[in-house]
Structure formats: structure tokens, C-alpha cells
Amino acid sequence: MSNKELVWVGPSGTLIPTNCSEPQDIVAYANGLNTKQKKDIARAFEHEAYDMGAEYTWRRAMVRLKSTLKTLGMGFIGEMLNNEDIDEYSNIDIVLNDYSAISLAEQLGAINSTGALKLRHALEMISHFLSDEAEKNNEELSKIDASALVSSCVKYVLGETDISIAIEFSELRNRLFSETLPLSDPQIEQLLGSPPFYIKTVVSVLLSGIKNEQGAAQEHAVRNLSILIQPIWNHIPEKDKWQIGNAYRDATAAGDISATKGLKTALLKVKGFDYVPENLRSSTFKKAAKSLIDAHFTMNNFYTEGPLVANLSKLGSSIPAPAFIDCVQAYLCVYLGNSYGVSNVAFSTAKVELLKITEDRWRYYFSKVLATDEIILAKLFNEKPKNRFKTLIQGHLSYLVESESLNTDILKLVQALNDGNDSRISGISHKLYQKIREK
């Protein structure tokens, strides 16, 4: 499927001439910055203050991205991130970290997948070079790395005077709240043939409508979920099934009869009540896991992960089912680290907790979750995390190689990890990652 056939797609960015490699030249294409800001950045690079120039460019890019996202309403952002702590009164700069802002911008078509991938890489790099550890080791951001960062920021965020959410996405969102769409609707037909990335975004949009909208808009969201749930149920990630179950529980707790009724109807159609949390214990685990993942993707993560992984592990090893995916993802993030290494303080705790996970739960993770776990799949693109994943499989999870329940690609990935075949690991993980977004 070409990009044109997708329900919505982010822009491919501002064209920067290939012969333009000096940061101070690239920044001239940043139409989203004013003259003074451009001059400040250029001056920093002319004085070889690469980290200063890169950090300032990065900050400006993130401020722009977040202010664009903010136009959709913080309640909507909270639902898209499956974060119940974010509501209309939340401050976007406090509650939305750079990693989530990039992911959300990609989801809503403000930037395309390549842009998101490059910005995530830039984030990892800037976070490392601005960390205490890099300072202690006298590591400095090189001109080449700084140029790459500035180039990504300008190309995908600062190049245009105005960045916006994909028009096709905004239109579909409006229709989902203002019409009851039949399965024969061309846009819905197109959506149903789309990769999980798009379907899960629409599920989050509908859940946000059911929770935050009122009157006719809420009714349309409820009816549309009820219509869509059967054809999409087998194509949405496990985490999103839990999100629907959680929404049903929340609506019941809030006494919202219309939302409860709609979600109950939807869950009945797919017999999805196994995905409704029985109690609030799982929320505590999910919050602790989320804090750890947030810390993993922000500055000084090698220091901040330590106490947070300890907090999560203190909650106990009997992780409730609704929080299992979040917890294993958090522990894996810490265990696999990033291209610059791992947090020495947090690593051993994460390893101990990962080894406590039972065989049937690992089988569940590999058969139902990993294929749509873009955070962990993206870890395999880098050398160091890939090597640590190989160690985990070879040392403790080699039984998965014989597993009949795994789908073909995941089984091949596990075999490649077990065999230490780097090129195959890379090829398969990229293929799986693309499959979430492209056909």
C-alpha cells in the first residue's frame, strides 16, 4: 500500500538542499523561527558551541510540536496517551514529555513516520549528551551529530511557518463525532484495511469522544465504536483492548450511563469482558510503569531510572493482568537501555524482575504483544540494546524458539536473537516495525 492509500499521512517535511550541511546554513530554512532565533542558533554553531545550538533548536522544535498538539484539547491528548491523569486543566509542558509528543505527532499525521524515527533518535542523542554522565565523562556533541539533529528539527518541525494535524485525520475525527458511519462508508472501508497504527488511533479517538464529549457527539462516538468493534477487534494491539475495557470500568465508576451502555454493547459483541480490570490494583502498577518509561525517554535517564524501577518492583512480582504489558515494557526498556548503554543502578533490578516473569506470560508477550510493541521493536535497531536482548533470549528464554504459538515473523525474530544473527534481527525488527504503520 502506498502512502497515498493510507487513511491519513504526515507531511514528508521541508526540502533542505543536499549540499546544505552546515548547521548555520540549515537553520536558514527554519521558517518557523524568527530572525533573532535563527541568528542565535547560527551564532552558537559559529562559536563551536554545538551542544548549546542543538539544545536550543531542539527546545524550539518541541515547543512548536506541543503547541500544535495542544490545539486538540488536553482531554483528547490524555486519552490518546491512555493517561487518566491528563485532563483539560493539565499543562502540556509538564505532562507531555518529548518522546510522547513525537509519538503523538506521528499518530495524528503532524509528522510522518520517518520524521518521527529521526526525531526519536535525535532525542536519545541530545538526552545523552546533556546528561550528568556525559558531562562526567567529558563527552561532547560532535558537529556531525549536531548537524543531524538540527536537520531533523528543521525538516520535520521548524521548516514550515505553521505545522498542523493531518487534514484527513481531523476530518475523520469530526465525522466520528458528528455521524454514525456504516461499515460501507469509503473512509471506514479504507480504515479497516489499514495497519494497526491507524486503527488503534481511531479507537483512542472514539474512547476520548465517549469519555469527554456530551450529547450527540458522545452518542455518535458510542455508535461508531459499536459498529467498528467487531471488524477491528482481532487487529488492534492487546494494550488497546485493555484500554477499551478500562474505559468501560471508568464509565461505570463515573455513573455515566450513556458511555457505560455503549461500551458494554461493544464489549458484548466481541466477548471482551476479560479485558475489563477487576479492581484498581492494576492502576498502581500501570502508573509506576509509566513513570519509569517516561524517565527512560527523558534527560538523565540513567540516574532517574534507579528509584523508579525500585518503586515498580516494590509493588510485587504478581503483576495484575491489565498492567502486565506496561510493566514488561518498562522493565525491558531499562534492561535493554539505549544506544549509549544502560542505567547501572536500575539494570539489575529490571533483570531480576524480568526473570521472575513466568513462562506462560512470556509466551503471551511474544505471541500477542511484541509484534505491536513499537518501543521494544525500535530498541532492536541499535547495537547495544540488540545485544542485551540476545543475552536475555539465549540465557533465559530459549524455550521460545520451539514455541508453536508464535506468529512466523516473531518466531523468526526469536530464532535470530537466539542464534545471534544480527542482520536477520535488524531486518525482521524493521519489517515488524513498518508493519504497524504500513501495509
Partner: protein, 348 residues
């Protein structure tokens, strides 16, 4: 000599109800339910009147599957018999309070019984709403019958499709608890913010509905939340307690929904319990159309020009005076024997 038996009439009604609800044809079931209806129509334990909520199903597992957050305390499992229904009632009825609902799960040879609660917050819908009310959607997986004494020796029997009100009284004027509840609570939430209006109405229905069942008569007046109306009310009906600071029930409810903290939840629960007690106190309780409690224990005095045509007991006369006092948007009355009356300014 013509002979008409109340028992055979009710047995026929239960039979047709069970048929419509597609209950299996168990030999003991019809008579077991008849016994429950008879017993609950005026049930007392240790001298205290009880109003247990009961539901009967043939597949408790499926009922609870759609309510995974439901708490289930199974009390016993016995060989199925008519007598065992009475035992179940004796053991479970005293436990069916504060959100707990008694259940009997019927099978060919055995019945099991206990209590369940589907409430996960003070705002969550009642089990009745979830199982046989607005939220019921049981498909073909199970059959369900909900049963409760609704006052005046009347028992409500409700399923997913069919419902019946079985009156074991010869009083033609008798009404049942809660039939005017929706209108009353709609008036109390008429001017609250639209964001939580629906939730607020359900919440007041839950609190006041519960109050009406256990209370011995009530008088409720609803007025517009404006200074002029309140001053006029206090002048006209001055024999009672007006709170220096009205209790804003809507504010507590909204805070509980927005903050989702233990403190907000506890405040909400405490003030709800206070409102229940005020409503069951002697005299009139006054609420505003924005969900505030202005006062309680207010004795309604005649103005002087209306007494000639006032008849009935003290509460009936007070209701008539309230209607004519030009203070209220809506007046509600429930007598000691359970009859309800409502008057709305909008309908005049």
C-alpha cells in the same frame, strides 16, 4: 360459590413471566418465587422492616462476566427446593443493604445463593440498573428476574423483557416507591452544569430512591437557586432549620468525579448520608434546582386563607399548603404507608 384465589392469580403471572424471560422449566422455580414475593412484601427481621433487593438467574457466571468488577460473596449451595428459597432469604436479606444485592442461582438440581455488589464508586449505577435496567443487555446467555418490595405490600418483578407489579393489597389508591423519582430528581438537577447533569440526576435518584424505601414518609420542596426566592421561602416557611451554608451536593459530586481522590469520595459519601438522614427527619427538606440542600426539619404552617378546603393527615395538608405557597418549583410527598404525590409548577 365463586372462588378467586390471589395465590393462583400470582402463580399464573409468575409462570408467564418466567416463560417470557426464557427461564428453564424447573419444577420448584415458580412456587419458590411465589414464596419470595409473599415473604418480601412485608419482611421483618428482629422487628426491623427489610427491603432486600433479590435477583434470580440460571447462570450467575454469565451475569457477573459482564460486570467483572462485581464482588460476589457466595453464602451456600443446596439441593434445589421451594423451602430452600425461604432459607436463602433468611440468610441473605439482612445482608442486602448498602449496595449489596441478594442473588439465587437456580439449576436443575441445586441452588446457590449469596450477595453481590456491582458498585465501584459512589456514583456507579445500581445493580438493578446494570442487570435489568437501562444497562441490561444479556442476550441469550442467561435469564434474570429482579424482585423487590416497593412499598404498600407491592413487589416489583422485573426481567430483561417482562415486568410485573404484584400488589398484595386491596387498596386501589396505593402507589409504589419511586414512581415519581425521575421527575423529582430532574427538578433537583435542572440548573446544574450540563457536564455532569446526567450523572447528577442518576446520583440523586440513587440517594433519594434509597431514602424513600427505608423512610416513613417524606416532604421535599424544590426551589430556584436565587436570592429573592430563598428570602421569600424563609419568610413564608420559617419554622425549621435553614443551613447557614447550604450543602452543595452537586459540588461534592463533581469534585469526586474530577479529583478522584479518597477525600473527595469520602466527602461525597458523608454528605449523601447526611442528606438521607435529613430527608427522613420530620418536616420538609428543601433543595434547590442546582442540587443544594437549603434546610430540613421545616414545619409547614398554613397561611390562614387555605385551611377550609384542606383535608387529610398532617403530611397531606402540609403538601397542599406547600403547593399553594408559591415558593416551589416542585413539591414531593410520600406518606407513611408509601403513597407518593408530586406537584410541579411547570404543569400548572
Amino acid at each position: 360459590m365463586e372462588e378467586r384465589s390471589l395465590r393462583s392469580q400470582v402463580m399464573d403471572l409468575i409462570g408467564s413471566f418466567l416463560f417470557q424471560e426464557k427461564f428453564p422449566n424447573y419444577s420448584y422455580l415458580r412456587e419458590g418465587i411465589l414464596d419470595l414475593i409473599d415473604s418480601t412484601s412485608s419482611y421483618r427481621e428482629e422487628g426491623e422492616e427489610l427491603y432486600p433487593e433479590i435477583f434470580i438467574t440460571n447462570n450467575i457466571k454469565s451475569v457477573l462476566e459482564t460486570l467483572p468488577f462485581c464482588k460476589n460473596v457466595e453464602i451456600d449451595k443446596k439441593t434445589a427446593s421451594i423451602k430452600e428459597f425461604s432459607n436463602a432469604l433468611k440468610l441473605c436479606a439482612p445482608l442486602s443493604v448498602n449496595g449489596w444485592v441478594m442473588y439465587i442461582n437456580v439449576e436443575e438440581e441445586e441452588i446457590s445463593y449469596g450477595v453481590v455488589s456491582s458498585e465501584i464508586s459512589e456514583l456507579s449505577p445500581t445493580f438493578r440498573t446494570q442487570a435489568v435496567g437501562e444497562l441490561s443487555q444479556n442476550g441469550d446467555d442467561y435469564s434474570i428476574a429482579y424482585l423487590q418490595n416497593v412499598g404498600n405490600k407491592s413487589v416489583l418483578l422485573k426481567g430483561s423483557e417482562a415486568s410485573a407489579l404484584i400488589r398484595l393489597t386491596l387498596n386501589s389508591k396505593a402507589t409504589v416507591h419511586g414512581q415519581e423519582l425521575t421527575n423529582l430528581c430532574s427538578s433537583i438537577t435542572q440548573d446544574v452544569e450540563s457536564q455532569y447533569k446526567e450523572i447528577a440526576q442518576s446520583y440523586f435518584e440513587k440517594i433519594i430512591g434509597n431514602t424513600l424505601i427505608v423512610g416513613h414518609g417524606n416532604l421535599i420542596g424544590v426551589i430556584k437557586d436565587n436570592e429573592e426566592k430563598i428570602v421569600s421561602l424563609k419568610n413564608r416557611h420559617n419554622d425549621g432549620i435553614y443551613l447557614a451554608k447550604p450543602i452543595d451536593m452537586y459540588e461534592f459530586l463533581a469534585a469526586s468525579e474530577v479529583e478522584k481522590t479518597r477525600e473527595a469520595c469520602t466527602s461525597n459519601r458523608l454528605f449523601s448520608s447526611l442528606l438521607e438522614s435529613m430527608l427522613n427527619h420530620d418536616g420538609m427538606t428543601v433543595l434547590t434546582t442546582s442540587g443544594k440542600v437549603l434546610g430540613y426539619h421545616i414545619f409547614v404552617q398554613p397561611q390562614g386563607n387555605e385551611e377550609s378546603d384542606l383535608v387529610g393527615g398532617a403530611r397531606t395538608r402540609a403538601f397542599e399548603i406547600m403547593k399553594r405557597s408559591e415558593c416551589f418549583e416542585l413539591c414531593f410527598y410520600k406518606s407513611q404507608d408509601g403513597n407518593e404525590k408530586i406537584w410541579s409548577k411547570a404543569d400548572v
